[in-house]
């Protein structure tokens, strides 16, 4: 009797590119793009604007075949990148392999943003498992802290650098998701409002009134009104039926958070594009799509979702 063992290889490929300087950047990314174009694969590049220009110049006419995005805009909130950038492009091309260069972590990302960035990198592995997609993530060895590079080795199964391609020996995305699920620092001076069933209008008025006095206006004020209402409604539906909303100003941003007794168990909550035909909550997805930054701390004792809006 013969036994056949079949090994299933995940078609999703997620290498990190560790580079020093423009030459190594181009050496790592341009062949990746050209191989994709030669194979007829759709290619998207979502990187900071200076690297968009670098690649456009190097690719010449071929650049017209590539979808370019400024990651500092499209991905300023890391929680937006999977639904709004990566899946948005990959889902347009369901047949065959899709190639994307995604650079969500650049020198200048703040300490407040970084935990959301590294969690995003870890969650990509869950979000695209089983999909014929390759996402190459460049990391600037000169501009980024060594601890960022250490984390990148945990969030990427494959590493590409000046020495070639190698398998990461410390790949552990679940550990990164867990390690960066940290309590959020309490604000120094926040206005707070407790809410329960029937209070959503009060929550909206409270947030909009304070945010307007802090300088938020126009459509961004309306976006924040919506998000405050969605987060509070989530507390009523999934967070024990009540919660507390707080608002304060911090480094030129309006910050709002909602705390309740719930526990978010799905690490990809709010990061999957919603099927238009499916009922189901879209509140956290819209929060990710509209906010400049979303930070979440969740465990069995409760959940805080914190959103940042630039004024």
């Amino acid at each position: 009797m013969t036994t056949t063992t079949t090994t299933t290889v995940d078609p999703f490929v997620h290498p990190a590119l560790f580079y020093r300087g423009a030459r190594q950047y181009l050496d790592g990314t341009v062949p990746f793009i050209r191989q994709g174009l030669a194979a007829g694969e759709p290619v998207a590049v979502a990187v900071p604007p200076q690297n968009v220009e670098l690649l456009r110049a190097e690719l010449g006419e071929e650049a017209s075949e590539v979808r370019f995005l400024d990651m500092t805009q499209a991905g300023r909130n890391p929680g937006r990148i999977i639904p709004g950038v990566l899946r948005a492009f990959a889902d347009l091309h369901p047949a065959g392999r899709v190639r994307i260069i995604g650079e969500p972590i650049w020198a200048g990302r703040s300490a407040t943003e970084y935990p959301a960035c590294v969690q995003h990198e870890a969650l990509i592995n869950l979000a695209f498992s089983g999909r014929a997609v390759t996402i190459l993530c460049p990391y600037d060895l000169d501009g980024l802290d060594p601890s960022v590079i250490t984390d990148a080795e945990m969030t990427h199964p494959v590493i590409m650098d000046g020495y070639g391609l190698r398998t990461s020996r410390v790949y552990a995305p679940e550990r990164i998701i867990q390690d960066y699920n940290r309590p959020l620092p309490d604000p120094v001076d926040a206005a707070a409002l407790g809410f329960a069933d029937g209070d959503l209008g009060r929550v909206r008025d409270f947030v909009v009134g304070h945010a307007a006095s802090m300088g938020l206006s126009g459509e961004r004020l309306e976006d924040l009104r919506l998000i405050a209402s969605e987060l509070a409604a989530n507390s009523l539906d999934y967070g024990g039926g009540s919660g507390t909303v707080r608002i304060w100003a911090e480094n030129g941003q309006v910050v709002v958070d909602v705390t309740d007794a719930g526990h978010i168990l799905d690490p990809l909550a709010g990061r999957r594009p919603a099927d238009p035909r499916q009922r189901g909550s879209r509140g956290l997805l819209v929060t990710n799509l509209l906010s400049d930054l979303v930070r979440i701390h969740t465990n069995q004792d409760g959940t805080t979702v914190r959103v940042y809006f630039s004024t």
Partner: protein, 140 residues
């Protein structure tokens, strides 16, 4: 009895006093007077037409959603174009906008939902959650 059996009936939900359980919005008697009086976040829906439509004012959220869903459902059963005047709409949440897309998908082939005076809060969410899948015309 469906809400569409009434003409130009203003139905109001006062969130503070709305009882739990099945919707009370199926007739004129649903405007239960409340101890705290009207709220700025009430939802008012007038049936209009012909052509069949709704005139909506106030807030659509978790508290008032059922009235909105039932009003849309009543119009869908008519199977004709729907005209919705949103000039008085102050707020709509994500689910409220999704219900509009779902109603539009429930219309017979070739029929559409026409939105008049749709505020930013509705247009922005409509753009985010996939307007392409629904026959909705937004009047600009």
């Amino acid at each position: 009895m469906s809400i569409v059996d009434f003409r130009m009936v203003t139905v109001t939900i006062w969130p503070e006093v709305r009882p739990r359980g099945p919707s009370q919005a199926a007739g004129p008697g649903s405007s239960t007077p409340g101890v705290r009086g009207p709220s700025p976040h009430d939802l008012h829906i007038d049936l209009t037409g012909p052509p069949a439509g709704l005139k909506v004012s106030g807030d659509i959220d978790r508290t008032t959603r059922r009235l909105w869903e039932e009003a849309l459902g009543g119009l869908v059963t008519k199977g004709d174009d729907m005209h919705i005047d949103l000039s008085g709409l102050l707020f709509v949440d994500v689910r409220g906008t999704w219900l509009l897309t779902e109603a539009a998908r429930g219309l017979p082939m070739g029929k559409k939902v026409f939105l008049h005076h749709a505020p930013y809060c509705l247009r922005s969410v409509l753009a985010l959650i996939g307007p392409d899948s629904s026959p909705i015309e937004v009047e600009t």
